[in-house]
Every structure is written in C-alpha cells, then in structure tokens.
Amino acid sequence: MSKVSKLGQLANFLLYITLQLAVSQFIVLCHTASCFIYVAFLLLLPRRQEGMPLLLLISFAVGLFVDIFYGSAGTHAFSSVLVVYSRDFLLKLMLPASGYEAAAQPTLSNLGWKRFSLFSLILIGIHHTALFFLDAGTTMLFFVIIRKVVFSTLLTYTTVLLTQSIILLIRKR
C-alpha cells in the first residue's frame, strides 16, 4: 500500500465515521429504515490478499467503535467482520485477479455503477441481516426484522452511492 492510499483510507475513515455519528445515527424513516453509512468504509477498504487479517482487525475495531455509540455490545463488530470476510469472496467472484484490478479499491469509479451496485447491495444486505437479527436475539419477529433489513439496506445503499458520486464529481473537476 502506498503512502497516498493510506492517507486516502484515513480520509475515508474520518468522512464516513463522522457522517455515521453526526448524521446517519439519527435518521430513522417511518420507524423502519435506519442508515449505517459507516459500512461504506468497510466496502472501500483496499483489496489485499496478504493483508486480510489486518483488514479483519480494522473492521472489528470500527464495528466496536460504532457499537459504543449505539449502546449495543458487539453486534456491529460481528457484522463488520462478517462483511469484510465475505467481501473477499465476492471480489474474487466478481473480479478475477488481473494485474491492475486486483490491487484496486472497489470504488464506484473502478467498478462502474452496475457492478458497484451489485457488490454493495449484497454486502450491505449481509451486514444488515446479521445486525438486525443479532440485535433482536430471536427469530420471533421474523417479518418485522426482514422489513427493517430490506428498507435499511436500500437506504444505506442510496447514501453510499450518493457519497461516492459526490466524491467522483469532485475528483473530475
């Protein structure tokens, strides 16, 4: 990882964590859909096979940090680690390793909006499913939880796409 990309990661981290704590933590639409924008940071981590244990540790720390602000114990940490672990498999499926792409970050500009949408919808879905079911601690409220998962996934996906597009626009200038 070059120095520039490390700085980029730090910028990403600060941007998305700030958005999470200051804005998206308080957004709840129709008592159903909530937004977890910090997942974007996990999605955009660089792709490095040999660095996977480090990436997992980072995602655990980020999840735990968010957990503290939600007053929940370990649910965000669990979901975040799960996302980063399954992200590796998904990227292998979607982007068979080939020179440039293998090292790149899975951003909107690198993937194109179709592949990026598929990629982020699947991973956000995994994250939210784990999160809401762990939080409920039961499958008694199955349909209530599924509704929350679906609408929250759509909301988070929309905000991720929005922030990525804005970043893209700023870069193009």
């Binding site: 308080f26 709840v28 996977m52 244990p53 939600y70 007053g71 114990a73 370990g74 409920a136 409220l141």
Partner: protein
C-alpha cells in the same frame, strides 16, 4: 511426536490464518453480545462528551420550540399549584419522590433492545434502578451510571416490564413492548372479568417503587378477548413519543431501599 504435531498445527494455523482470525473475532463479538456488561462503555466520560456535543449541535435549531414547550409546562404546573395551594399546606410534605431534570443526548428506537443516554450521572445523584419520566409519560429505567452520564433502558426494550393499572377500574397488569412499532405496547395479565374499553388511560401502579404511582403510560387502542384466554390482548398507544424525546426527569425515591428491604425480608421469612 508432540513436536511434529505442534509443527503441523502451526503450519495449519499459518495457512488458514485468515479464517482463524475471522473465527476468533466473531467469537469475541458473540461473547460481548452475550455478556451484557459491555454497554457500560457507552456511559463512559469520553463517549458521553462526544454525544453531548453532537446533540448540542443537533438541537440548536429547535431550541426555541423546546423553550416554548418548557414555558408552557411551567405555566401549566403553576396553574395546578394554585388550584391545590390550600390542601397542600396541611399535607405531610415529606413525599419521597424527587426529580432530577436531564437531557437525552443519545437515543434509539429502531432496535428491539433500545437504550438512551442522559447528561446526568452519579454526581447529580442518579443511580441504577431509578425511573425516568418525561412530561408526556414514562420513559425507562436507569441501567448504568458514570460520573457525568447515565444509560437508560428504554420502555422500547423487549425485556422491560412495567407494573401498570387501568386508571378507571384500578385493575393491575404489566406493560411490555413487543418489539415492532415504537408507538405501540402491550398490556398483559388483565383478567377477563373486568370491563376494558378502548380509550381508557393506563398509568404506572407504583407497586415496584421505581416509578411513583400514576405516571401516564398510554391509552388503550384496542382490547381483544379470545375465547380460550384468561386474559385480554390489550394494545396501547404510548403517550411518550420516543423519536423526539429531549427533556426527561429521573425519579429519585428516598424510600425505595426501605420498601424493597422490607419486601425481601417478608419473602425470606415465608419461603
């Protein structure tokens, strides 16, 4: 033999270190979830300060509105005070309940186990187990405190139960949140022989010494009576809107310890 085994084990761990780290981290997470002492971290000073700052920024635009609300409440209370001024003089004024005003600096309604954070803590006399109310009605029970902050188990927590009564018929029941809609709760254990009407007011019973008696919980939306059930299925419309909660009061009951002590003493004696 043993060394060879160790060597193979180390090779295995190295070859699958990704998976090993993954399993280890998920295991720690599950441990944290099951062991619910971790929530105390959110009552810590550092986290509380950040939340305090965020809520101050967030609430700035609606300060005027809040001010008006509080003024209105003040006026209403003064009005009530004037009405009862005479009788109060003859009353014994050593009532056991005191209120500590506090601000909600963190709140969630989207989960099934929701907590709030308040900007008052042990330094202001807040202790775990105290009740929390707002002008509109019941809010929750204090779960943990640090010096400056307190976390509160919201009524919107599926494990939270509140002893309640229907104010007309004085009949006793238990209010619990079923976990889906933050505006609705259930009232359990109301026996079928009492008449229950939609629109009836439900208040706290005051039996468990956490809340004083008569704190508003909500109104009955519908009461169903199934053929085989000994109890009603009652749905409540909660009077507190948890999504816009800001100013709350922590209820200190000076006699709580005495009451709980005596009750436990009695229990121990007869069991």
């Amino acid at each position: 033999m043993l060394r060879a085994l160790m060597k193979r084990l180390l090779y295995f761990l190295h070859a699958h270190k990704c998976f090993v780290v993954f399993v280890l981290l998920e295991f720690i997470s599950v441990f944290l979830i099951v062991n619910d002492k971790f929530y105390k971290a959110s009552a810590s000073y550092a986290v509380g300060s950040i939340q305090n700052f965020i809520s101050a920024v967030k609430n700035y635009p609606i300060l005027k509105e809040e001010n008006a609300k509080l003024l209105h409440e003040n006026a209403m209370l003064r009005d009530k005070l004037l009405q009862v001024a005479e009788p109060i003089v003859q009353l014994d004024i050593t009532a056991p309940h005191h209120l500590v005003p506090a601000q909600v600096i963190n709140n969630s309604i989207v989960g099934t186990k929701n907590y709030l954070t308040l900007n008052k803590g042990a330094m202001h006399g807040v202790e775990p187990g105290m009740g929390v109310v707002s002008t509109a009605g019941i809010v929750g029970r204090v779960k943990a405190v640090s010096d400056h902050f307190a976390t509160v188990t919201s009524l919107l927590h599926t494990a939270m139960q509140v002893s309640a009564k229907i104010s007309n018929s004085k009949v006793l029941g238990t209010v619990q949140w079923p976990g889906s809609n933050p505006l609705r709760a259930q009232m359990l254990y109301v026996p079928r022989h009492v008449p229950v009407e939609p629109g009836d007011t439900v208040v706290t019973s005051g039996y468990n010494a956490t809340f004083s008696a008569g704190v508003l919980i909500g109104h009955i939306k519908q009461a169903k009576l199934r053929k085989e059930s000994p109890f009603y299925d009652i749905e409540l419309h909660l009077s507190t809107d948890f999504s816009t909660l800001q100013h709350v009061y922590v209820v200190k009951n000076d006699w709580k310890l005495e009451q709980v002590d005596l009750e436990q003493h009695t229990k121990a004696f007869y069991e």
